[in-house]
Symmetry: C2
Subunit: 443 residues, 2 copies
């Protein structure tokens, strides 16, 4: 036999169980998005290279997959590339379709993206992103709704999470008061790594990026602020008293907290909230287009990094010639959520099989008989399989076992005579003879 | 302002309304697939070129999109290509994962495919395929289930269809009895065009493909067979009396018809069947891997060609080194089904908006008040939006209009005092003051 076929490194096949679990995550998230009036769009897998190039930094340009028509001469430079994220196609979409859209435009998008990264554990060359954004309004209601969406998604999934929140304007204010207003990006990029590399390495990087010792020293008490969110905000107000933008950032955060806290959990939600919120002054997020609130969500019971993140941007569509359109968005990391649910054993058991019952038969007449029952059950919206041949009973039962089908209806001559089937519960092994009406009632 | 951004020719953006309609089609089809125990898989967008090349004929190889890592030298030949259909990746999947799968393996797959075809009306470079197959069994139950799936999908969508059915073994028998047993593929390819180019052009092509006048003359009465399916089968049995394979094909078809007809529609289905079945001896289907039953489905009330097609194959996985695995599958053409539903105005009206109610407010206090109501409604699984700013009422109402939101809850000082909202039905213009409990009851 020939060599086993394979797929490109960094890509994955998803079998039926993985798909059931992935769909559970996507359906949960979509259900919550829709509760808030967000509507789905899709964009093509390939975009013009001119749309993609220069949007992700030099490093990003190198990670784009380029596409060549087979007919094209190899010498011809490719003009198309695979989508690298959902944010740039979204900005392109908003500018291209702006006359057809009602603003504020609330959209979600769940599609794969491709990056020519070196594949490694947990990092793939094809993976899904799951983005939700509202664009065309600078109301802080946007931030509120995204936090509520995070709360509701993780409540439904049963994952305890902490939402870390910060505001880019506070970071700008900090850069201002330590006397390095032009170094906001450098400070951001460096302190973004605090969790990973520790305070000394961050300080070394700050120095490398041109901050002097005095400025670095001035930054330390801010990085070390502790206590409750209210305590931190009070201390910050003093520290940033001379920075207009810094105070604006504090005011925005305070309003978001106030809005969220005034929305008391209703008694109607059967499950309690699984969300904590924490002001995290070391949260910076690498991307340069954020201008206001920034978020990151971490699972409390699993060590896996950020599972959701995003923030407010004021000029995302500017790159395509439509300036000054404010928006706010977040992205759910489906692969990491999958890993958390697996690690904590939180996937619902009923995802194991969609088929509720298999008919196993002893002969052709029985098979025919089973087909009639199957049709009747399907008319009641019950998912049914009929084993396609009256082969060895052991083989038919093994098929039900493999597919984790919870019930098998065994049909022999006796069952046909009495107009019944022998219903076997595969979990308990229990068997009983039932009529069609009883079977429908049972399932 | 800069030039408006655009997308590559032959690709499409799908806005919220198109997505709602496309999801309606996909969800309907998936719901029926699951009733029969088919389970979803997904494969990567990119496959190794060695997996794809030589599988679609010379023409197909030219239509493959090839992928280059940006890091790779342009001189380096690309090693990956975008998926051209779902059949070859499915065959690759079955061979690669054969040890993990339970056979018969019933899978469905709904993913985009890419072809570097010249774009034209109704032909795109990126489009979705929607495939369902059972592999690892030669039982004609497979054919029966696929026909039942076609019947149920189109019943649910409300489209009147005719399922044309034929059998490749009958075509082989015909080639045999007219004395051109080695010309089965040539005959197949030529008569596949009968509908499009007419009998004379088909005969000319047959001659070009090496059939002599006698053979072409012998073929004519078969192409012209008329009457009911039973009449045609009776006549064929005489014509193909000397061909073992031809008689096998007739017997297979007869059994499929008998199985289907014995499965009388149950009284429980509220909507009657919208399916006719017709034996069509001119149906050949271009693809060479079919070996048994072949199907094509046409909408009766729209001129749009085939909207579903497929057939039985005995050696699909042979190309990857696993011979003699029989299967049968069909593919639903989502784009064409979309066009039929549009032309016949069959999309459900409730797809127009997922949001059931918009809160429109006169001031900040009212906005705050509305947020509390929104949270309460969402806890009842009602999709709600709150207009994010208390701007001009006209603008807020226009937003509801644009998004086709059926109800607006208007909140002013009076409503806050009486703990109510003014509920406006956007279709009738009717307004009434309601309490929260009344509103929940209303929606």
């Amino acid at each position: 036999m020939a060599q086993k076929p394979s797929i490109p490194k960094g890509t994955r096949d998803f079998g039926q169980m993985e798909m059931a679990r992935r769909n559970y995550i996507f359906d949960t998230i979509k259900g919550v998005f829709r509760l808030y009036g967000f509507q789905q769009i899709e964009t093509p897998a390939m975009e013009n290279l001119s749309t993609l190039m220069g949007k992700y930094g030099e490093e990003g340009d190198k990670l784009l997959f380029r596409i060549q028509n087979s007919g094209e001469k190899a010498a011809l430079a490719p003009e198309k590339g695979l989508r690298y994220d959902l944010t740039v196609p979204f900005a392109r979409y908003v500018v291209q379709h702006r006359e057809e859209l009602s603003f504020p435009f609330k959209r979600f998008q769940i599609q794969p993206v491709w990056r020519a990264d070196r594949p490694q554990k947990g990092r793939y060359r094809e993976f899904y992103q799951c983005d939700v954004d509202v664009i065309g309004s600078d109301s802080l209601l946007g931030e509120l709704e995204l936090i509520q969406i995070v709360e509701e998604v993780y409540r439904r999934l049963g994952i305890n999470v902490c939402l870390h929140i910060n505001n880019r304007k506070i970071l700008a204010g900090i850069a201002e008061v330590i006397g390095a207003p032009d170094k906001m990006i450098d400070i951001t990029v460096a302190i973004d790594k605090l969790d990973k590399i520790g305070v000394e390495a961050v300080n070394a990087e700050l120095k490398e990026r041109g901050l002097n010792d005095e400025q670095i020293a001035a930054l330390q008490p801010i990085l070390n602020l502790s206590g409750s969110t209210a305590d931190k905000l009070t201390a910050l107000k003093t520290i940033l008293a001379s920075s207009e933008v810094g105070l604006k950032g504090i005011a925005e955060l305070e309003e978001v907290f106030e809005l969220f806290n005034s929305q008391l959990s209703t008694s109607l939600n059967s499950k309690p909230s699984t969300l904590n919120i924490e002001l995290d002054l070391c949260l910076a997020r690498g991307l340069n287009y954020y201008t206001g609130a920034i978020f990151e969500v971490k699972a409390l019971d699993a060590q896996i990094g950020s599972i959701t993140g995003g923030g407010r941007y004021d000029n995302l569509t500017g790159i395509f010639g439509l300036p000054n359109v404010s928006g706010v968005g977040i992205s759910f990391g489906a692969d990491r959520i999958y890993d958390v649910l697996t690690e904590l054993d939180l996937f619902p058991k009923e995802l194991q099989s969609t088929t509720q019952i298999l008919f196993a038969t002893f002969g052709d007449a029985e098979l025919h008989y089973a087909l009639g029952w199957a049709k009747e059950l399907r008319a009641h919206d019950i998912a049914v399989e009929v084993y396609p041949e009256p082969t060895k009973m052991k083989k038919q039962m093994a098929y039900a076992d493999d597919k984790k089908i919870p019930y098998v209806a065994i049909v022999g001559g006796n069952e046909m005579e009495t107009n019944t089937v022998m219903l076997k519960n595969m979990a308990t092994g229990e068997q009983k003879q039932v009529t069609l009406a009883e079977l429908i009632g049972n399932l």
